[in-house]
């Protein structure tokens, strides 16, 4: 009797433990599910602002437009229908606020009750017109043609050069500037942090005596724990003004400021991991090198560094991964201009910073919201790949050792 109840409670506990250990897996699955459900939803949307219609004269040969074309039309970069495969007719823009150019307040009516009729008439009479208005003014007997929009394509998103999700009439969701901004800032950070971090790790692991190491190592580990928002704040009050003065720039919030702060933040990680890697170099191997008459320095760069190269690589890649995903510090110092950067001395905007800055203003479920989730998907995939690479490198190392 007692043994069977013991068995039951043992089983119950084991079940509980199993459930607990599957929570992380479940979370990853849920993250993928939620992120991709919202993110991929972007591609069933059209670029036109929700609740609005684009209409043209019914004789117009053009019946389908892309988001980018629509934007260029309203930016007056495209001024003639023949550029879009239509007849030679100049394009006449009509936004709702332009109505007063055509009709008086009386004609529209006190409560806009004649407004649909007025818009309909305009579309009927002007052959080159393209009008943008809320779909509640679209009536059954509308004397014009509604323009159809294809859903947003992968190409528009990945190759698009402009990120302006709240643009009228068509949101621009090109992520190239964000992707490039993220890469520039992260690469800058790693170029800065890797040589410096590696040098410090070599010093700590191979040159400094035990006492110095026992003081510096915990200190560096401690600095890895300082919140990113504090680093961002430091960047904002110290590094940003410094860069502005040093390079005589209009603003100091630049990609460079982001790289420097991210580099500083990546240093503890890089130092700790590569120092650990160097420490695994067998003592006998170092001694063998010294016994052959190699100097300590020769031993370091000919034996220790090659031996620990996979750990160092892992540190570098992990550093990049952290930099790519880092949000707050970057948000605070890079200036967040969504333009394709030409140099690190310009404001740039990264993917995480974009999500952090815009999600609060994006209505849930809308186009903008979905676009930000799509950015989250991209970020998730990038960091997942980076983690898998790091794991692959370190597992290969283990295999080599055994």
């Amino acid at each position: 009797m007692q043994s069977s109840s013991k068995k039951f409670s043992e089983r119950f506990i084991e079940g509980l433990l199993l459930i607990s250990s599957s929570i992380t897996s479940l979370t990853v699955v849920l993250i993928v599910l939620f992120l991709f459900k919202e993110g991929l939803g972007l591609f069933s949307h059209s670029a036109i602002e929700e609740g609005n219609v684009i209409a043209v004269n019914k004789n117009n040969q053009v019946s389908v437009l892309s988001g980018e074309q629509l934007k260029n039309i309203f930016d007056q970069k495209i001024v003639n229908w023949k550029e879009l495969g239509g007849s030679n007719d100049s394009i006449i823009l009509f936004r709702l606020e332009d109505i007063s150019n055509y009709y008086s307040d009386e004609q529209i009516g006190e409560n806009f009750e004649h407004l649909p009729e007025c818009i309909s008439k305009l579309n009927d009479s002007i052959s080159g017109i393209i009008s943008f208005f809320p779909d509640k003014y679209w009536t059954k007997d509308f004397k014009g043609k509604k323009i159809e929009f294809d859903p947003i394509t992968m190409k528009e998103v990945f190759a698009g050069k402009e990120w302006f999700p709240t643009a009228h009439p068509a949101a621009q969701l090109g992520i190239a500037p964000l992707l490039l901004g993220t890469l520039w800032v992260s690469l800058g950070a790693i170029l800065l942090a890797l040589p410096l971090g590696l040098a410090s790790a070599v010093y700590l692991s191979e040159i400094a005596n035990k006492k110095v190491r026992s003081i510096l190592k915990p200190l560096i580990e401690l600095l890895a724990g300082i919140p990113s928002v504090v680093y961002g704040f430091f960047g904002l009050v110290v590094i940003v003004p410094l860069i502005q003065q040093l390079f005589n720039l209009p603003v100091g919030e630049t990609g460079l400021a982001g790289s420097i702060i991210l580099g500083i933040m990546a240093l503890p990680t890089i130092i700790t991991i590569s120092e650990d890697a160097m420490n695994t170099t067998p003592r006998a191997m170092k001694e063998a090198s010294l016994a052959l008459g190699a100097s300590k320095w020769q031993t370091i760069y000919k034996i220790v560094i090659p031996y620990s190269i996979s750990g160092i690589t892992a540190a570098a890649i992990l550093g990049i991964g952290r930099a790519i995903g880092e949000t707050m510090a970057v948000l605070m110092v890079t200036g967040n201009a969504a333009i394709i950067p030409h140099s690190l001395l310009e404001p740039v905007r990264t993917i995480p910073a974009t999500i952090a800055a815009e999600l609060g203003e994006a209505p849930a479920g809308g186009l903008h919201y979905k676009a930000l989730f799509a950015l989250g998907c991209i970020l998730f995939v990038i960091t997942l790949i980076i983690n898998l690479i790091v794991e692959f490198i370190s597992s290969r190392k283990k295999y080599q050792n055994s």
Partner: protein, 293 residues
Amino acid sequence: MKLPDENKLEKLKKRRQRIAFIILGTIGYSIVAILISILTFIIVKGISVISWDFLTSMPEEGMTKGGIFPAILGSFYLVTGSIIVAFPIGIMAAIYMNEYVKHGTAKKIIKQMTNNLAGVPSIVFGLFGMALFVNKLGFGDSIIAGSFTLGLLILPIIIRTTEEALKSVDDTFRQASIGLGASKWQTTKNVVLPIAFPKIITGMILSIGRVSGETAPILFTVAAYFLPRLPHSIFDQAMALPYHLYVLATSGTNISESRPMAYGTALVLVVIVLFTNLLANALRKYFSNKVKM
């Protein structure tokens, strides 16, 4: 072949080594100096702002005066909440992985997934927390939504440190207990966990430091820009230290006048991290001395 002149060569090797060591040492020390100076900067700028009033009163006059009490309290709630979420699950998961399944595909998958979760950027946690807890489960911007999000964020850390703690327990303890007829769970509960306990606690303390500084995950799940009152329940919004610092630094009503407030808040955050680290280190030392005796 003429061998290189011994003395000349050795001199050259010595000189190269000296130059290399000087460069490496200089870089090493300057890096440490930079890191320390950041810390010092925050401490020096913040120390004059810190006072009892600053820590215990509400923000006033557009957050340019007064204190940061609601942010401290909010962070406290979030730390407590996330630990309640993550701790039992994390420890149980680690026990399962270390004590119950030693090998096999299941363990590999769980390990891989835990590593994957650890690598997810914190802003993605923010997105996920918003989609699941705030919108889908209808918690709204609330302490509970934030606690769950942060809890999931630190779960991999807790699992990892607990696993390490359990691994450090010598197998002979387990064998002795099993040999006396104890079941697996009895062995784990009565023998393994008590021995591993100090290391587990150290892991918990370090994760407190981590949670109290995380900003991105709470942006859209709990954090309030400004709340003129304290939260009423766990379904209420709350202010939090890191987000408050962000607001003060970048989007307050009057950034230059709220700068001292920002320095003070930054210092409080730094002190929390310093304190948790020192405490963890002290505990580590205390327990290891005790074991030696």
